[in-house]
Amino acid sequence: MSRKKLSYTIQPSLEKRLNDFFVMIAGLWTFSIEFFKNIFIPPYEIYEIRKHMYELGLKTFPIVSVTGFIIGLVVAMQTQPVLARFGAESNLPGSVGISIVRELGPVITALIFAGRVSSGIGAELGSMRVTEQIDAMEVGAVNPFKFLVVTRIFACTFILPILTVYVIFISLLGAYIAVLLVQNMTFEFYIGSVLKSVEYGDAIPGILKTFVFGFIVGVVGSYKGYTATNGTEGVGKASTTAVVVSSLLILIFDMILVKITLWLWPTF
């Protein structure tokens, strides 16, 4: 009985959850508007943006390399028996290449990036908020939003597409290893088959949508950290919810962007 009572006292009411949800949506919207307002106002903080791009890229580089390689390998291993069933084994490089370039490369990279970076930004800004570092910046006549938030969102938006291109190549390499296990194929022939099947129309929308995913990761991480309250508990919460919300938004926006792409260019 006591356990039941306890669960009632700990769980926030549906009304509060809904309220928090709409507050968050409004907050993310306001943050995005503020980003576009601030980005064109000097100082442009080029040094900070470069520093964040370098750090974020470096931080995510090992994990996206490993994941990208394994995803390519596994997708090829899974696709090969299916194609063999239809006698279409020779299409393996092309079909794996299209899957990786159109969808798997961008989305997997974005989800890993969200897990690694969004939580990091949430925790970093959250701890700056609760230890009054953001207040110190503000009282020192520095715009903390521009210095801390705009630079991070910008860096996320532009580093993710670069990482995605890299992950696509690593995944294709992984897929080649899987192909080698069942077929004797030279790397030149494999890449030639992939390039023959993959068109610009497959690659460009896939890469372009990662700008949106990078923006989502930056905005969500920054928003959660910048608005953190309640000391270290708030920092932890900011960090974990940043990952959940940004991953969810990436998948929702992926669905919307795929639909828009197919609507605008039905042949893609």
Binding site: M128, T131, E132, D135, A136, V139, G140, V142
Partner: protein, 250 residues
């Protein structure tokens, strides 16, 4: 230098500051006392608009702080130093970069002038050796000193101290208090110091106010405040004299 008129601030339905009014003259050191949670830090944050008051007026150097736009407010903030309770040093920057930060952002000093200023303030707080250390490598007292150095590097006209000696041992507390007094004399600053530390107040205060339940219940010299017959003040300043009967009943 500073005038506060009928300042009020509430969080949800809880009234923190209730119609507070006081003034601070040029070069004066005003100490603000009060129990924890009575709104001393809120008062300091309202003065620089880190928090927006619900009502009232704040004048700093005859400027109505609450009616300034963000650009004017930032111009005013350049003349105000703030030492936070936790020192609020930027974790990701070395001591040098912490000190350089306000100079690079708000002033047009050359690299050489910035370096001279950094060395000069670090000498004032006796921590020149820590110039290339990260905040995580510093002790609590060192952090407070560096926080103080960062606050005074722009030579502000008004300094706000939020519990400058909290969490420090008595000897370091005394050293920090002496340092604040020295800096105040040499830089001719006006200061508002929020503290619980009576020794710190004795060293620094020209005048003191006591906050209780959102109101100022006493304003005057520290001596008069400590000798007052007001039961609250009596209890506040003589808390260390414990009646044996009080703890016998616990």
């Amino acid at each position: 230098m500073l005038k506060v008129e009928n300042l009020s601030k509430s969080f949800n339905d809880k009234v923190i500051l209730n119609n507070i009014s006081f003034q601070v003259a040029d070069g004066e050191n005003l100490v603000v006392f009060g129990r924890s949670g009575t709104g001393k830090s809120v008062l300091l944050k309202c003065l620089v608009r880190l928090l927006e008051p619900d009502s009232g007026r704040i004048y700093v150097q005859d400027k109505d702080v609450l009616s300034l736009n963000i650009k004017e407010l930032n111009e005013l903030r350049k003349q105000i130093g703030f030492l936070f309770q936790s020192a609020a040093l930027y974790d990701s920057m070395t001591v040098r970069h912490n000190l350089e930060f306000p100079l690079v952002r708000n002033f047009n000093f050359t690299q050489k002038q910035r370096e001279e200023k950094i060395i000069s303030v670090l000498e004032k707080v006796s921590l020149l050796d820590a110039i290339d250390k990260m905040p995580s490598e510093l002790s609590g007292g060192m952090k407070k000193r560096i926080g103080l150095a960062r606050a005074i590097i722009t030579e502000p006209k008004l300094m706000l101290y939020d519990e400058p000696t909290t969490g420090l041992d008595p000897i370091t507390s005394k050293e920090i208090s002496m340092l604040i007094l020295e800096l105040q004399k040499s830089l001719k600053m006006t200061s508002i110091i929020v503290t619980h530390d009576l020794l710190c107040a004795k060293i620094i205060a020209d005048r003191a106010i006591m906050l209780n339940e959102g109101k100022i219940i006493f304003e005057g010299s520290l001596e008069k405040m400590t000798l007052s017959n007001n039961p609250f003040l009596n209890n506040f300043f003589k808390h260390d004299i414990i009646n044996k009967q009080e703890y016998k009943n616990v």
